[in-house]
């Protein structure tokens, strides 16, 4: 699978759970890996590229971290829109 296609799948997975569940990086890797039938390591690489580019971001609450789709405010603050 092409990396861009995989990134779209990761984003679609994140959208599915947006506002419903706090997803850890591992949850996303396992979930997308199961749905797309590819290795979790590949998903992890794609996920991290998306985080580096600001397409996704880490969040933090109560001492625990999760991965989220960034808000417009965050993207503006980072100069990404």
């Amino acid at each position: 699978m092409e990396k861009e296609e995989l990134k779209e799948k990761v984003y679609a997975y994140m959208l599915k759970y947006k506002g419903k569940k706090k997803l850890k990086e591992k949850d996303v890797c396992k979930g997308v890996s199961g749905e797309a039938g590819i290795g979790a390591d590949e998903v992890k690489k794609a996920l991290r590229e998306m985080i580096d580019a600001g397409k996704l971001m880490y969040s933090y609450a109560g001492g625990a971290s999760s991965v989220e789709i960034p808000s417009e405010e965050y993207l503006r603050e980072k100069g990404l829109i």
Partner: protein, 401 residues
Amino acid sequence: MPKKYDTPLLDELEKGPYPSFVTEIKKAAETSDMSADALGQIEKSYRDKIPYWKHGGIVGVLGYGGGVIGRYSSLPEEFPNIAHFHTVRINQPSGFFYTTKALREICDIWDKYGSGLTNMHGSTGDIIFLGTDTANLEAIFAEFSSRGWDLGGSGSAMRTPSCCIGPARCEWANIDTLDICYQLTQEFQDELHRPAWPYKFKVKVAGCATDCVAAIARADCSIIGTWKGPILVDQDEVKNYAKGGMNIAAEIVRMCPTGCMSYKNGELKVADEDCNRCMHCIAKMTKALRPSGERGAAILLGSKAPIVVGSLLSWVVVPFIKAEPPYDELKEMIRNIIEWWDEHAKPRERIGELIEVKGMRSLLEYIGVDPQPQQIKHPRKDPFIFFTDEDFEKVYTKDKV
């Protein structure tokens, strides 16, 4: 000129013989609007008995998942300069050794972008910079990183490893704590900056069981220097201690946790096979006693402050492991331990809690360590491992052979 607030309740905390955080914030408040408003809000919190901070949320540096902890005032209209008051954690050098040039440099950066308030150091070990605005975060990171500094860990990540001063200034260090701390920090860079685990994981390295870095009470994984040989006794120095007024029977022999020492006719003896290398006697009689033989580390797991369940102290899991460069054995062992925890733990469950839930057997099998007497936490009442029928079968078969 920063606004001045009346702080009668905070002023009480400046009385008495101890250093006061209020005095330090007041100093910073002479030139910093943020520190001035922080004083005003804290006074109001003390008066109303209500905390006015909100924590967490979505703040950070692009690509990093840790190192910045969001903090906001819930009274931004009353205290506009601390509407944002985020904390930035910076990875400290091993053993907290700085040049004055480095300290001036980081303080100048903080005066430029933040409140000027610091905490040297946080309980994890990082340098803590208290109070900045979201808009400044990328600039702060750029300034620090251009001078060779990096963010520390926060959230569900490897937290910044820390260590005692070790061989830099202490002759009792059995391992090079500074190098191990640095090497582990490099080894786990990805895990430090990208939180992917169920919860936090703290590593601390102490050169001996005196444990000046308090690893046994604070770290999920304590690496503590130890030795294999006997304790060497200089009987002339023992006599000097006795002459100097030391009550060796009371202060040394009866304080030995395993009762492995005796003192008769002015002679101190150690039954080394019963010694657990606690360092009490050596730390008390530094001129008379000395470790010997092969040096290495014990790995203890599980300490934490109370969050999900009460506080826990670390537990010996690996009684002895080589701790020499390039530390491959040590790194592999820590990775295996983390893998087991990451695989089984619920969100916000620390490794000590997981060991209590799943039992030691599951962990020991995963990391390939045999059950050993040193792993017994509470003698005579702690079934630290449950043997299966298969285990007994193996023993009986061996006996028959």
